[in-house]
């Protein structure tokens, strides 16, 4: 048939094709025999010698500088010991070896080994910041312990570890929740714990890379299969002035307390020092849990940032804001005054002035100069708690300043509504009287007071305190203060330093204005002087003020915990800091003058 004739050549060609394919399969089979039977032993040895490791490449964290370029945080090269869990043959033997060479004690190492991991090939940082001798000892035994590998890495170093611990912060390991949040974190990554390190974690951290390396059975690196380079983090320049920070620490001495220095024009934080402090360098590692626990359990609570987290009754430092409230609300006229006899009876209770003998006739400016309590008792009674609370809130009390480091305390401005809701107590009229001199249900942080005084010093703008120079600094709110009233309050605060009766008269040699404050911890008992009291019950000492008088550039808030009187304890601290600030400024005047003025050069069109 036609069809059959037609197909014969096709079938011949098809058969030829089949033979070619079969020949190819035969060749492949021969090749398999070669690989698997003749060379099988050799390939098996290669398989055993063939370990692929996934080694994280740590990104260098951004450095942190103070406003003049002094290094506050940097990275120093260090040796780390990595352990590749997949390659451990005998956990006990490895642990014993590590303990014997002095990497750590067995229980800590075991805990470390059992910590959550990042995929089967990821190594564990089992030792860090190794000394040369230890590295040499480990390397000598490298061939016995291929699962261990000494690797170069970084260690965070804070040259001013104690001075900047709270402001700059330190590093910690990520929490399980953070790891699960799917950010590019490894269990061995370090993240900022507090301060700027935490606030600017994203900027500083950079991106870790990784390297896939093939290594031999004794842990020698044979080659790199794939490399993902790390991206270093960005550097940060702070507004902080390390010289002022040092001056603050020195002026506080052994006392516990807080020092905040702000530039009232911008809110730039020049100093933020909380005492007692701690050395941030103790936390840079991954293995320093014991140190941390010791600090956490310290009764002095060095981990607490007293500048932003410590709340204290503001005492007399609240008086300028009461005065502003009184003048602005119109409850007192320009000539209003009181006659202070040392105490006044209100709502059936005697309220005493700190000056037993009384101040005699007291007007507004003099009330700030001598810090007359009776003036403010009567003013507070006229204002009423709602107006007081409203004005204190305007000056930023009762809410966080937004400095953005750590968990900032919001402080408290007590109101009848608050009393019912939180204390389940009615508001007594006498409480209003106490609040008028900064006692009772009113608490503030040193940072809040510094900011509120900055508003008095800069003509009525509530600035936002910030530590990083690149923040959109000018986020201030205008409080719309009456200039005449503000002038009178400023005069009163100037008189508190320069007036003959001023409570801070001992600072008269400095171009300062300010207010002392003494916050009661417990009610004073009759016939007991402050010096006789147990330290725990002594008053907190405050001084908040600014310098210089003309166009103020520094607002200083000083709190000394249980220090006693503000005039005797806190004011001198502030004086020393202002003196240091003036001296430091004299030093770099020429630097500022030399700085180029930025101007826009538009291209002509």
């Amino acid at each position: 048939m036609d069809l059959r004739e037609d197909l014969a050549p096709l079938k011949r060609r098809g058969a030829a094709l089949t033979l070619i394919v079969l020949a190819a399969l035969g060749l492949l089979h021969a090749r398999l025999a070669m690989l698997q039977i003749i060379e099988g032993g050799r390939w098996r040895t290669l398989a055993e010698n063939n370990r692929v490791r996934r080694v994280p490449v740590e990104a260098a964290r951004g450095r942190i500088y103070d406003r003049r370029g002094a290094v506050l945080a940097e990275n120093v090269p260090t040796w780390q010991l990595l352990l590749f869990p997949d390659e451990v043959e005998d956990v006990e033997r490895t642990l014993l070896f590590l303990a014997r060479t002095g990497v750590g004690d067995i229980s800590t190492l075991r805990e470390r080994l059992n910590a959550p991991r990042w995929g089967p090939l990821a190594p564990i940082v089992i030792g860090e910041d190794l000394g040369w001798e230890l590295v040499a000892r480990l390397r000598a035994h490298q061939s016995d312990h291929p699962e261990l590998s000494v690797l170069a890495g970084f260690r965070r170093f804070y040259p001013f570890g104690r001075l900047t611990a709270h402001a700059v912060g330190y590093l910690r390991l990520p929490t399980v929740a953070e790891l699960e949040a799917g950010r590019s974190l490894l269990p061995t990554s370090l993240v900022g714990a507090i301060g700027v390190e935490e606030q600017r974690q994203a900027t500083l951290a950079g991106t870790d890379g990784e390297r896939w390396v093939v290594s031999s059975a004794i842990g020698q690196q044979l080659g790199v299969v794939r490399e993902l380079p790390s991206q270093p983090g960005r550097d940060l320049t702070l507004t902080l002035d390390i010289q002022l920070q040092a001056a603050a620490a020195e002026a506080l001495g052994d006392a516990s307390g807080a020092v905040v220095v702000l530039d009232p024009r911008t809110g730039a934080v020049r100093a933020l020092y909380s005492a007692p402090s701690f050395d941030a360098n103790r936390f840079v590692g991954r293995l320093s849990f014991a140190d941390w626990a010791a600090l956490r359990d310290d009764p002095q609570r060095p981990l607490q940032d007293r500048c932003t987290q410590g709340v204290y009754p503001p005492g007399s430092t609240i008086k300028p804001f009461m005065a502003m409230a009184g003048l602005s609300e119109g409850v007192i006229g320009p000539g209003w005054g009181v006659n202070c006899s040392g105490s006044v009876v209100l709502f059936g209770h005697p309220f005493r002035c700190w000056q037993r003998g009384g101040h005699g006739s007291v007007g507004l400016e003099r009330s700030l100069e001598v810090s007359c309590d009776v003036f403010y008792y009567l003013l507070g009674q006229r204002l009423g708690i709602d107006a007081i609370a409203s004005w204190l809130n305007r000056f930023g009390f009762g809410r966080a300043t937004g400095i953005g480091i750590g968990s900032e305390a919001s402080g408290l401005v007590g109101t009848p509504e608050w009393s019912r809701r939180v204390r389940h107590q009615p508001w007594y009229p006498g409480t209003t009287v106490s609040v008028s001199i900064g006692q009772g249900p009113v608490d503030a942080t040193a940072l809040q007071l510094a900011r509120a005084y900055a508003a008095l010093a800069n003509g009525g703008r509530l600035v936002r305190p910030h530590l990083v120079a690149d923040s959109d600094a000018d986020r201030s709110e205008d409080l719309h203060l009456d200039p005449d009233s503000l002038n009178r309050v400023v005069r009163g605060l100037t008189a508190a330093v320069h007036g003959s009766e001023g409570t801070a008269h001992r600072l008269a040699s400095l171009p300062m204005a300010g207010k002392t404050g003494t916050a009661q911890v417990v009610a004073l008992q009759e016939g007991v002087t402050v010096e006789e009291m147990d330290t725990r019950f002594r008053h907190h000492a405050w001084f908040v003020g600014w310098a210089p008088l003309d166009q103020p550039r520094w607002v200083v808030a000083v709190l000394v915990e249980h220090g006693g009187g503000g005039a005797g304890v806190a004011a001198p601290v502030a004086g020393k800091i202002v003196a240091a600030a003036l001296a430091g400024e004299a030093e770099d005047t020429h630097v500022d003058a030399a700085a180029p003025v930025e101007s826009e050069h538009g291209t002509p069109n």
């Binding site: 096709l10 698997q36 099988g40 299969v225």
Partner: protein, 358 residues
Amino acid sequence: MEHRTDPWLLLAVVGILSASLATLQAVAQVVGPRLFTRQLIWGAAGVVLLWLLSRVHVTVYERLAPVFYAGAVLALVAVLVVGEARGGTRGWFAIGPVTVQPSEFARLATAFIVAAWLGKGRQRRLSARDTLIVTGLVLLPTALVLLEPDLGVALTYLPLLAAALWLGGLPARAWVAIALLGVLATLGAWNMVLKPYQKDRVLTVLDPERDPYGAGYQVRQSKIAVGSGSLLGQGLGRGSQSALRFLPAQHTDFIFAAWAEATGFVGSTLLLLAYAVLLVRTAIAALAADTRHGLILVGLIGAWLAFQVVVNLGMVVGWLPTTGITLPLFSYGGSSLLTTCAALGVVQSVWRYRLVNQ
């Protein structure tokens, strides 16, 4: 009169599918357990598809070839526009939870149209006009796949063209011309088309130790896996190469290496035997065909499957550069598996509906 479905071919298919599932199960720790389940579903669906298509009369494929081909070309264009990209290749349609790779199915449609065109011819030698038409019919989808770009799949279209020209009876001098053109094209591709990493792969075949941790890494690891299987293998799931992830793409391109490591020379011989049975039974179906169309159709399918098997295994044993060509019925992947089963179903249709006593 219908013939019985070829039991040898079915046995080979089921055997290869079982080995594939066993290997996926063994490397589940590394590639995830879901692949096994999915491959099981695809495999079952594939066998059903094979059975169904073997019951469609072979003339249907001839008549509907233009429809299939037009649909395939449209799908390949559409995937370039609305397709989903994976690792830089835009080659998948996402339909609910499954993704479909049209370039796999389009290969079968291309086999249909070429077989239908050549099946009509009567002359002993291929005319110049037919040569051009057949070449165009194959190169159109190939070019579209190259645009995705998916070099591995595009290469699997070439055996269709080669087999069509061979079976159609291209004169000897034309083959000489093609060989010359091939050399020129290779030189041109080397200088203009191939990316540096692709050149590295080719050079690695010529000199395996050239860059053992870079371009040569995959092949070297593959050879280590195959070789360390020795005679009896390390046992399924116990191969150190596969378990420790040294073996790249161990569920797709390099799945044979994982199998060879686990089952040794015995296992790889069995698998090779299964492929030999599959290809020989396909060849027998082609030679038993009673029409030009049936013979060419089965011949094209057989050539394509043989090409994939030989090139994939050649890559695994380090003879050919890594190109991303999968092992039919064995590599993980639903589109490839279903297409292969469909093609074998078509082969069986030719086998079952051939004339008796021809």
